[in-house]
Amino acid sequence: MSEISLTVNGKRVSGAAEDRTLLVHFLRENLGLTGTHVGCDTSQCGACVIHVDGKAVKSCTMLAVQASGSSVVTIEGLADGADLHPMQAAFKEHHGLQCGFCTPGMIMAATDMIGRHPEGLDEATVRAELEGNICRCTGYHNIVKAILAASETMSSKGKVRQAA
């Protein structure tokens, strides 16, 4: 058992975890943040994607103890109070989800993707970048559409901000 402490969605949290405890299990079981899902055992489905120190990470592929001292954002911490993040809004608007199981990981991966492509996104890039996230329901069509739309919204917001 190790004591770990980290910042999750802006709050300092601490707790004890077995050395073998994965970060995703710590988030789900110790902190009750069940929005982050587990869809596989081999680090491939992306249902567990969160942000650790600003980077998208598969939380099933990191030990809880490794995250000690880090700052973590999960799907529960993405919206700004009652205001949805533009990516969340775009997934709803464009029907980018059906059963919702892959959705938190998709949204967290997608926001990271936009951050890494300041030049903007096109369909081929979005599809290539989604390589680590599996969805069985949507055929990706509307997920791609949602990410492209959010990317537009976020960059036009950014431009407005710059202009102001």
């Binding site: 009750g32 596989c40 081999t42 489905c45 993405l78 709803k92 059906q98 199981f101 055929g139």
Partner: protein, 782 residues
């Protein structure tokens, strides 16, 4: 159509919780005192259990209980059953082997559950599971269905001699043989439909809670049909009487058929909870899902299609061997029979059809319905054969199909189905136009200049949905009726709850069902709540599968709304001192037609509950129930066109365009319908290009993780061009046909027809992976 009514592209109400991480799936449930289960599963495909030693496991840290099949049996828990009786052509009933939730004498596939360990944590349960010592005597295994029928094959169940479960036929063999004999041309093919693993992204899970004080059980489970789960666990598995068993299927992360069935794990979690005195949760890991979720497809068939000299089909003869795996899953027997052979007429006027189906046991995971269930197998067989026939006859594949289309309705096929309505030429034309079929030759030439092989393929599918008229399926062997129930409760202030036996696990019922209410009463969809998935709330229901929730589930809602409307109008007429027949509902108010006299919806509702001023003799309250039993199947149909480009150096196939033109009848929410088609197409393309389930000869599943089983990913697929035409279904009050499975049914043959067209070969095995395609281009065996 209002902005929230039928036909409107309304964003989903349920999305809010999913996009904010607030969905509630079974693994998210926590009840006080809850502990964790891990299963010890057979590492062998076929073996006799010699001894089970749990002493070491019992002494491990955190262990609460280690339970075996002998104890389960001693407590009277029953064997798992298949609920659809099929009779062989000699009249004998299907041969169902015993399936104990925990194996105690013999194991029959890798993953067969043998022991369950309950411990404080999941980790401790797994550690202890590894310490259980089971000695096995390995037996010879067989995984391939045709091989299982050979004399030398190992015998899997004593009940099924030669591993044959049934040898069933449908249609007229004399007429079909005569048609083949008289044919001007016969197209013959061997068709293999590859085994698939459904892979809903949420792994199966169950939480069983026995409440000693009440002598009552609650089961949270990843189910598409919680009521059926309760019925079966109660009536057949002897877990608890129905009034002592509550089954809840909360948010469920996809099903595709695989979550219809009642599996050993949910029964065991309930039983183990009573045994150990603690609530017991089990969540499958992905490899467990690969090993033990019911798989789909796995047919090997031969087909002969006879044509006259005018290229009209005169007969179709099919012989199929269906692999049902190691045990008969809940609906396994109806998939390769009544959901398959009844669709062998496709969209075509075929005077004589005969199908023979042998279902066999093998040492593999049980096989049952997976998105489409039988209908994809029928469509693949038929549409591959049509394509090959067109090439052999030297005619255009589109025109050969068009020539043979059924054009007059109703149409009685020789294989039970009576098609009520359709316009197959309309879908064909729509798909060919959308795909710019006429411009293909130029695109092929351009591709050739770039060193690429370009091909085009089509598929015209039909399916039978809206399962199903209860009496009809009863006469065919179904153990249950396939109606649906609905209850509409209008609250005193006018908001509405709709309780439905349908279950949403991605289909968006919370939105579409509310749209229906909005259409009828003008109440905003935010004032309508859809309640489902809990046997304590909804009295009874048959669940969601076979694209039945719109055609059957919503029809039940529509019937209940009729009753509510009738009573509401009576109340309004009384309040307005008008004639009941003059009341119309508009913009959320009940009005006297042609006047400005009206009572708002909420005021009418309040009047129903205050009961101060109701028509004499009327009971207070406003709540109505309906059980809707469909009068026929529904028949969605359409045409899909796939265009591929293959790199001959690597064998990589790129889908350069995919067009779907579907006829789903009336549509409640086009956005949701399109989403269903997208997902179905992705699964169909997955089957055609990527997904191969491989067992080695000893019965080890080689593709038991996402490292080995190729799921379609975003960069394997294009954006799809989908459109719908809407010939209303005459068989239900809403004119809905169903759209959930079409994509998975129509797409595999379109993809393979395109690939074989590009390479210039007759056939290629699914999945047509790069190495398979590369070998085919070189004419070598892969």
């Amino acid at each position: 159509m209002g902005i929230e009514g039928v036909g409107a592209r309304v964003a989903r109400k349920e999305d809010k919780r999913f996009i904010t991480g607030a969905g509630r799936y079974v693994d998210d449930m926590v009840v006080p005192g809850m502990k964790h289960a891990a299963f010890v599963r057979s590492p062998h495909a076929h073996a006799q259990i010699r001894n089970i030693d749990v002493t070491k496991a019992q002494a491990m840290p955190g262990v609460i209980g280690v339970l075996t099949g002998k104890e389960l049996k001693a407590d009277g828990i029953g064997n798992l059953i298949c609920g659809w009786m099929i009779h062989s052509k000699d009249g004998s009933p299907m041969k169902m082997g015993a399936w104990s939730p925990l194996a105690f004498d013999r194991v029959r596939y890798v993953g067969d559950a043998v022991v369950v360990v309950v411990a404080e944590t999941k980790g401790q349960a797994r550690d202890a599971a590894e310490a259980v010592d089971i000695s096995y005597e390995e037996l010879k295994a067989v995984v391939d269905a045709p091989k299982a029928l050979e004399r030398s094959a190992p015998q899997i169940h004593t009940e099924a001699d030669g591993n044959l479960i049934f040898d069933w036929e449908l249609g007229d063999s004399t007429a079909t043989n005569a048609a083949i004999k008289a044919a001007a041309h016969i197209t013959r093919m061997k068709i293999v439909n590859n085994r698939l693993v459904p892979n809903a992204m949420e792994p199966r899970a169950a939480l069983g809670h026995y409440d000693k004080a009440e002598d009552h059980y609650t089961c949270w489970t990843t189910s598409q049909n919680p009521h059926l789960a309760r019925l079966v666990m109660s009536a057949f598995y002897n877990v608890a009487p129905e009034n002592k068993l509550r089954v809840i299927a909360p948010d469920v992360g996809g099903g595709f058929g695989s979550k219809i069935y009642i599996y050993p794990e949910e029964i065991i979690c309930l039983w183990a909870s009573k045994k150990t005195g603690v609530p017991v949760k089990w969540v499958a890991d992905r490899t467990e899902s690969f090993l033990t979720d019911a798989h789909g497809r796995d047919h090997v068939s031969t087909v002969e299609m006879a044509f006259d000299k005018d290229n009209r089909i005169t007969g179709l003869k099919v012989d199929t061997i269906a692999n049902l795996g190691a045990y008969m899953s809940l609906f396994s027997s109806c998939v390769p029979t009544y959901l398959y052979a009844t669709l062998l007429s496709g969209q075509y006027d075929i005077p004589a059809i005969h199908a023979n189906v042998r279902a066999v046991y093998t040492n593999t995971a049980p096989v049952d319905a997976y998105r489409g269930a039988g209908r994809p197998e029928a469509t693949y067989l038929l549409e591959r054969t049509m394509e090959t026939a067109a090439r052999e006859l030297g005619v255009s594949p589109a025109e050969l199909r068009r020539k043979n289309f059924i054009t007059a309705f109703p149409h009685q096929t020789p294989v039970i189905m009576n098609y009520d309505a359709g316009d197959y030429a309309a879908s064909l034309d729509a798909a060919m136009t959308a795909a710019d079929y006429a411009g293909f030759a130029q695109r092929k030439a351009d591709a050739a200049n770039r060193g690429k092989l370009r091909g085009i393929g089509m598929s015209c599918y039909i399916e039978a949905c809206g399962l199903a008229p209860s009496a009809a399926v009863g006469s065919l062997g179904a153990g249950v009726g396939l109606w649906e129930s609905a209850e509409v409760r209008v609250n005193a202030a006018g908001t509405i709850e709709v309780l439905t036996g349908s279950h949403s696990h991605g289909q968006g019922h919370e939105t579409t069902f509310a749209q229906l209410v909005n259409q009828r009463f003008g109440v905003s969809i935010d004032s309508v709540s859809i309640v489902h998935g809990d046997t304590d709330k909804v009295q009874m229901g048959m669940g969601t599968y076979g694209s039945r929730s719109g055609a059957v589930g919503m029809s039940a809602v529509a019937k209940a709304l009729d009753k509510v409307e009738a009573k509401a109008k009576k109340i309004a007429a009384h309040l307005l001192e008008a004639d009941e027949g003059d009341i119309v509902i508009e913009n959320g108010a009940l009005k006297v037609a042609g006047t400005d006299r009206q009572v708002p919806w909420f005021q009418m509702a309040l009047a129903a509950y205050t009961a101060h001023n109701l028509p004499s003799g009327m009971e207070p309250g406003l709540k109505e129930t309906s059980f809707y039993d469909p009068s026929n199947f529904t028949f969605p149909a359409g045409c899909y066109v796939c265009e591929v480009e293959i790199d001959p150096d690597t064998g990589v196939t790129e889908i350069v365009q995919f067009v779907a033109a579907d006829d789903f009848g009336n549509i409640i929410n086009p956005m949701i319908v399109e989403g269903q088609v997208h997902g179905g197409i992705a699964q169909g393309i997955g089957q055609a290009l990527l997904e191969g389930t491989r067992y080695d000869a000893s019965g080890q599943l080689l593709t038991a993780s996402y490292m080995d089983y190729t799921m379609p990913r975003a960069d394997d697929l294009p954006s799809f061009k989908v459109s719908t035409s809407n010939t209303p279904c005459p068989g239900n009050p809403l004119g809905i046909k169903g759209c959930g499975e079409a994509g998975a049914i129509g797409s595999p043959p379109a993809v393979i027809n395109a690939i074989t067209d590009a390479i210039g070969i007759t056939d290629i095995a699914m999945p047509a992976s790069p190495s398979t395609v590369w070998a085919a281009i070189r004419g070598t065996k892969h």
